[in-house]
């Protein structure tokens, strides 16, 4: 979904950091993308290729770190791994699972020169 907006958001974060910290080139961008964030990684890389062109991060390597989905099960009162929002609790089979982790999409850090 909306991966182009996300790619532009990433570029903005990188450019703000470059202006604040005075680096000239970004060689690596490390992203943290939660399994339940709804981000299509394939499309995001494609958009980043285009968006980062001629920026401080032109050609930067993109490292994606996937954070696992987690949820709190109202059925058994436990925190359980969640692969998709519509899945049943792996412990008790209840669908009363609220996502509590894996929804984030963040820029973690940059390798700069």
């Amino acid at each position: 979904m909306h991966e182009m907006s996300l790619a532009e958001g990433i570029l903005q974060i990188v450019e703000d950091a470059a202006a604040q910290q005075g680096f000239q080139r970004v060689t690596e961008i490390r992203l943290e993308i939660g399994a339940l964030s709804g981000v299509e990684v394939d499309a995001l890389s494609f958009c980043l290729d285009m968006v980062l062109k001629d920026s401080v991060a032109d050609g930067a390597r993109i490292e994606l770190e996937k954070t696992p989905g987690r949820g709190y099960c109202l059925g058994c009162g436990e925190t359980v791994p969640v692969n998709a929002l519509y899945e049943a609790c792996p412990k008790c089979g209840s669908y009363q699972v609220q996502a509590t982790g894996g929804t984030e999409m963040r820029v973690k850090d940059l390798l700069v020169e």
């Binding site: 394939d42 390597r61 490292e63 770190e65 929002l85 519509y86 996502a99 999409m105 973690k108």
Partner: protein
């Protein structure tokens, strides 16, 4: 997709097309690694591979390269605008709802009907999001309610910045109801907070009952689901019970109302829900004003106690 070499297999899942094999490649810095092709990401399990670079270490002074911690939400900018909108709503006692659905679910008809029913109870304004045309805003304006059309062009969703600009033009009176009709799209608007009190997802019974499973992000982001066009149920094989069950699988807290905007069935419950939200927003504003007045009185008392 592997983001280093571009070998393509990402999260796009094509049913019946399994393609597992491993793949080895070399990074620009000379390090080599392999990963299974069915891995959804090119993941290093939380490790940074600086030690594999030419200097075999990553310490300040050894190379020109340095690491900059960012730790920022990619949607941080949107969220900051959304917080601004939310603050503005709270200050003015405005109850804002973000209506999301696929195209053709009957959002605009529902809005027109709602505005008619609310006419004597509340001031209503509308922000209309569509890629092109002002047809929907025209339909709303015909009811007498102020409306601003936001054309997103190629964009697939409204963002908080667009809504902020629309608010500047709408000049909403205090204690009013703002209905934001998002771009018809069951995917992207889920991720963008506009500063609204609630997302309301509208699903019509002419769509499949498994929509909540197909588009879980949206049903997860919403607080209320309106099941629209229920007057057509006798002519369809739509299973209401199953649909609600699917929706609550994705979001156990999701409230559901069955309505038909065109014949008015179930609309009272929805209008009552809106009015309850509006009353709460009004009460919040009054409380704020009271607090400010009390603060002014305190400061004036302090000032009076001082010699001039």
């Amino acid at each position: 997709m592997c983001t280093v070499c571009g070998c393509g297999q990402g999260e796009t899942q094509i049913e019946g097309h399994a393609h597992p094999h491993t793949h080895e490649h070399t990074h620009a810095d000379g390090s080599v690694h392999s990963h299974p092709h069915d891995a959804q990401f090119h993941v290093h399990h939380g490790d940074l591979h600086y030690g594999l670079g030419p200097a075999h270490a990553h310490a300040p002074g050894l190379t020109q390269a340095r690491m900059v911690r960012i730790e920022q939400d990619i949607l941080g900018k949107n969220n900051a605008y959304a917080d601004g909108n939310r603050k503005r709503f709270a200050e003015h006692g405005i109850f804002a709802v973000n209506l999301v659905s696929s195209p053709g679910s009957g959002k605009t008809t529902l809005l027109v009907k709602s505005i008619e029913m609310l006419k004597d109870q509340a001031q209503v304004a509308v922000v209309e999001g569509d890629q092109q045309t002002s047809n929907d805003a025209d339909r709303i304006r015909a009811t007498g309610a102020p409306a601003i059309q936001v054309n997103t062009g190629k964009g697939c969703h409204l963002d908080a910045h667009m809504v902020g600009h629309a608010l500047e033009r709408l000049n909403l009176p205090d204690d009013s109801l703002l209905m934001i009709e998002n771009v018809g799209n069951l995917v992207c608007p889920a991720a963008f907070d506009l500063g609204e009190a609630h997302k309301v997802v509208i699903l019509s019974v002419t769509e499949g009952e498994d929509k909540p499973l197909k588009y879980p992000d949206m049903f997860n982001a919403a607080d209320l689901m309106l099941l629209n066009k229920v007057d057509l149920l006798p002519y369809l094989s739509f299973d209401v019970e199953k649909c609600v069950e699917y929706a609550q699988r994705v979001n156990p807290k999701l409230q559901v109302m069955q309505v038909s905007a065109s014949i008015g069935a179930g609309m009272e419950e929805w209008i009552a829900w809106l009015m309850a939200g509006l009353d709460q927003a009004k009460a919040g504003r009054r409380q704020n004003v009271e607090l400010l007045n009390r603060r002014i009185a305190e400061l004036e008392a302090q000032l009076a106690a001082r010699p001039a």
